[in-house]
């Protein structure tokens, strides 16, 4: 059946790992918006949660780097990082391998997707799960778009991948909630951590929220790297979510929080 929920959110490790260093006046409304998104997601009564993420070398490396990957495992565990550093305890998340297999089979009709029966979760999925499914109640389908090891898949192909996710979700009887997670502009994991191009973020979110496909896909990787940093490559996850949902977006929270290293974002999409 059609998706029952679609949205996007940030996933930077500082969101949980450096929580106490953030200004509470920024942190608390962000956490509240993140948790509200989780409530709306769970209220949609999904049978599974599909997270389109941009992992950071938890599973995939330049020896054999897939542009697109979908998990098909019985279970997933994370975080791979030191739980104390991330501020999120280890958990084992149920998989739903039969559903994954059906989705992958459908996606493959238009996109050559890698499937993986082993998959470990890093902050890219653990931070969203921490807020969206705090009770660890939903089966997970992790999905990855390579946003780390160039050359990266072009944005028009990302759009086609999002369309394929939607087509696949429509073909199965299960109720699927889809969440894209990435940064907009940011320069993470370096001394530049905390740089955020707010004007660029707001322009991207505007294009994204009004479903302006041509404008969303108009960025080159050279422009993204220059204006939005290496972290900006992760707009791919937002674009895939927009393609899957087809409807316009609503930004519930956006604010640069430098100690979290990203313009913190919570947004949902209308499903059409």
């Amino acid at each position: 059946m059609p998706l029952v929920f679609a949205g996007v959110c940030s996933h930077a490790p500082g969101i949980t790992g450096r929580s106490e260093r953030a200004d509470p006046k920024l942190r608390e409304p962000f956490y509240a918006a993140f948790s509200s998104m989780g409530e709306a997601l769970r209220a949609s009564r999904p049978d599974a949660l599909l997270i389109v993420a941009a992992e950071h070398f938890a599973n995939f490396f330049m020896n054999n780097m897939p542009a697109y990957a979908v998990g098909m495992a019985d279970s997933y565990d994370g975080p791979i990082e030191d739980p104390a550093w991330l501020g999120i305890p280890r958990r084992v998340v149920r998989g739903t391998p039969d559903l994954s297999r059906r989705l992958i089979t459908e996606i493959q009709k238009s996109v050559d997707v890698t499937y993986a029966e082993e998959w470990r979760l890093d902050h890219g999925i653990m931070v969203p799960l921490h807020f969206l499914d705090p009770q660890n109640s939903l089966p997970l389908i992790p999905v990855n778009i390579n946003c780390q090891g160039p050359p990266l898949t072009p944005l028009n192909r990302v759009w086609a991948f999002g369309e394929a996710l939607r087509r696949a979700a429509d073909k199965v009887p299960q109720r699927i909630a889809l969440v894209g997670t990435g940064g907009i502009s940011h320069w993470p994991a370096t001394p530049d951590s905390g740089m955020i191009n707010e004007a660029w973020d707001r322009e991207f979110l505007n294009r994204w929220a009004r479903q302006d496909v041509d404008a969303m896909l108009a960025y080159s990787d050279e422009e993204i790297y220059r204006d939005a940093g290496q972290g900006g490559f992760e707009i791919r996850t937002f674009i895939a979510a927009a393609a899957a949902a087809r409807g316009t977006g609503e930004v519930h929270f956006y604010a640069p929080i430098p100690i979290f290293a990203v313009g913190c974002t919570v947004a949902t999409l209308e499903i059409r």
Binding site: H56, D82, P188, T190, D192, S193, G194, A261
Partner: protein, 108 residues
């Protein structure tokens, strides 16, 4: 220069508990299968986070390795700044530093 080998070693340490155990108990032996230059070997064993950064290790791999090594966030950022001062600009990859080495972008 064997940045790929260096990066792969750190990628594996970051995610493989068995290798983490061997690396902690006998680091020199644990890394022998990787073809590293003497400079890279020293950077991993010390660990010299600043040098690893300058050599071009992807920031996401380096951030996780620093956390594994028990290095606190502000200290991690400072070690990279110190590395730039000591060894010069980042030599490869997409994680070059844009800010001034004396700047504290996020206040830490």
């Amino acid at each position: 220069m064997s940045l790929y080998q260096l990066s792969k070693l750190l990628f594996l340490i970051n995610r493989d508990e068995e290798l983490q155990g061997r690396f902690k108990s006998d680091p020199k032996t644990a890394i022998t299968v990787f073809h590293l230059t003497e400079e890279e070997r020293r950077a991993v064993l010390e660990p010299d986070i600043g040098l690893l950064y300058v050599l071009g290790v992807n920031g996401q791999i380096l951030m996780h390795f620093a956390a594994f090594s028990g290095i606190e966030w502000a200290d991690y950022l400072q070690r990279m700044r110190d590395g730039i001062k000591r060894y010069g600009p980042v030599r490869a990859g997409v994680y070059a530093m844009l800010s001034d080495p004396n700047e504290r972008v996020a206040g830490v």
